[in-house]
């Protein structure tokens, strides 16, 4: 395995070197295009076009997969691993986390209030509304950020974002939202800028291995990278948070982002950094129309 590993690294490094030196020589010199000022731009329309392209890309690539089934991640496209997954989903280990999450969710803060006081509908069946663009603070609010904002508003210390209590609360909230359909909107220009920032991250190569999210999860999704089948990017956020057998525990989407970045030997960004939140915003919009099926189990 070590030799295989080394071989892969060498290949990828060579790729990376080529790509990087190409970057140097092929620098495009273009006049910056100045957009003619328009009265109103319908940003949602632009975004909807992107969503359409994204969906049809995966529909064309995986012809036997119904679009709504992409919520199952890699298990939508690979029958052999789907069988094992279904056996695990019969009684998945995240069930224990949902119970823990419920306990945390219902335990009052020092001021007597609970999480339910911070959320619409008492926090039940709201997962599909996250992340959203908050037009007052001009930023993307993810569910995890909202959970910690709720704590701080009620005089509690924020929780760490990757694993543990916060992930469990998120799991409980996701579970109460099962089968609700994601429909995340881009309300204005600032929101569109956040969306574009997330989109840019998605398509940008990074790390020593010089891979973008899109390289693995769009262009070559469905093919093998070592023993793994690369999951389609459509449906990435629907099953979050996720109990990964590799972790042996439940983690948030941020935990997975950081892991992915480390895999391509890029230094991960901090949890809930603006860029990661924008990436989650972009990715969730690309998965609009799919149902919440988090928490989920993955290999």
């Amino acid at each position: 395995m070590k030799t295989l590993n080394t071989l892969l690294i060498i290949t990828l490094t060579l790729l990376m070197i080529t790509a990087c030196s190409d970057n140097g020589s092929n620098q495009k010199i273009e006049e910056p295009q100045v957009a003619t000022p328009e009265q109103t731009v319908d940003y949602q329309l632009e975004v909807d076009l992107d969503v359409k392209k994204f969906r049809s890309y995966y529909s064309d690539k995986f012809k036997n997969v119904a679009i709504e089934d992409f919520k199952d991640g890699v298990y939508a496209i690979d029958e052999a691993s789907r069988e094992q997954w279904l056996e695990i989903e019969e009684f998945p280990p995240y069930e224990l986390s949902i119970d823990e999450g419920l306990e945390f969710f219902e335990t009052p803060f020092a001021n007597g209030k609970t999480y339910s006081s911070c959320f619409e509908n008492g926090g039940q069946a709201v997962r599909q509304n996250y992340p959203y663009f908050d037009t007052e603070t001009n930023q993307v609010i993810t569910l995890e950020l909202a959970i910690n904002q709720c704590r701080e508003k009620n005089g509690e210390q924020p929780l760490s974002y990757g694993i543990g209590e916060l992930a469990a609360v998120s799991a409980y909230m996701a579970n109460s939202s099962r089968d609700k359909i994601f429909d995340v909107k881009v309300p204005n220009e600032e929101a569109y800028a956040a969306y574009i920032d997330g989109k840019q991250f998605f398509y940008s190569k990074r790390g020593q291995l010089n891979f973008s999210c899109a390289d693995c999860h769009l262009k070559i999704s469905g093919s093998h990278l070592r023993a793994d089948i690369l999951s389609p990017a459509i449906g990435h956020p629907t099953g979050m948070p996720v109990y990964r057998s590799n972790w042996g525990e439940l983690g948030t989407i941020g935990h997975r982002y950081r892991e992915c970045n480390k895999n391509v030997r890029a230094n991960p960004l901090p949890y809930q950094s603006e860029t990661y939140r924008n990436l989650e915003y972009f990715q969730t919009i690309m998965s609009n129309g799919l149902a919440v099926n988090g928490p989920s189990s993955r290999k």
Binding site: E90, F91, P93, E95, L96, D99, S245, G248
Partner: protein, 104 residues
């Protein structure tokens, strides 16, 4: 660390046969893993689990470190909805888990 661990159970009876599925919250440390400082994490695994229905032992399992983290085990026995059964478990460190389950 707490002296007990959780056991979550689902049990449904169909035509007089109960399908019982158990999920045990347990780290199942193999004793061969190291922590971030390079120290060996002590072996810690589920050891025995007994299921009693109407004073009879319907299932008794012995487990080693070859069982996955958060162990899952399922089995079937003759039983009726509304009846209950008791699950008792112990690990190699003497910690215990217990669940009383009403069959659906």
């Amino acid at each position: 660390m707490s002296d007990t661990f959780k056991i979550k159970v689902r049990a449904k009876s169909k035509k007089g046969v109960v399908k019982a599925k158990l999920l045990v919250k347990h780290p199942m440390e193999s004793g061969m893993r190291k922590d971030t400082e390079g120290n060996l994490i002590p072996i810690h695994h589920l050891k025995e689990l007994t299921v009693k229905y109407k004073d009879e032992t319907v299932f008794y399992g012995e487990f080693g470190t070859g069982v996955s983290k958060d162990p899952f085990v399922a089995f079937s026995f003759k039983g009726e909805p509304g009846d209950s059964f008791v699950v008792d478990a112990i690990d190699n460190q003497g910690k215990t888990g217990k669940a009383e389950v009403v069959i659906k």
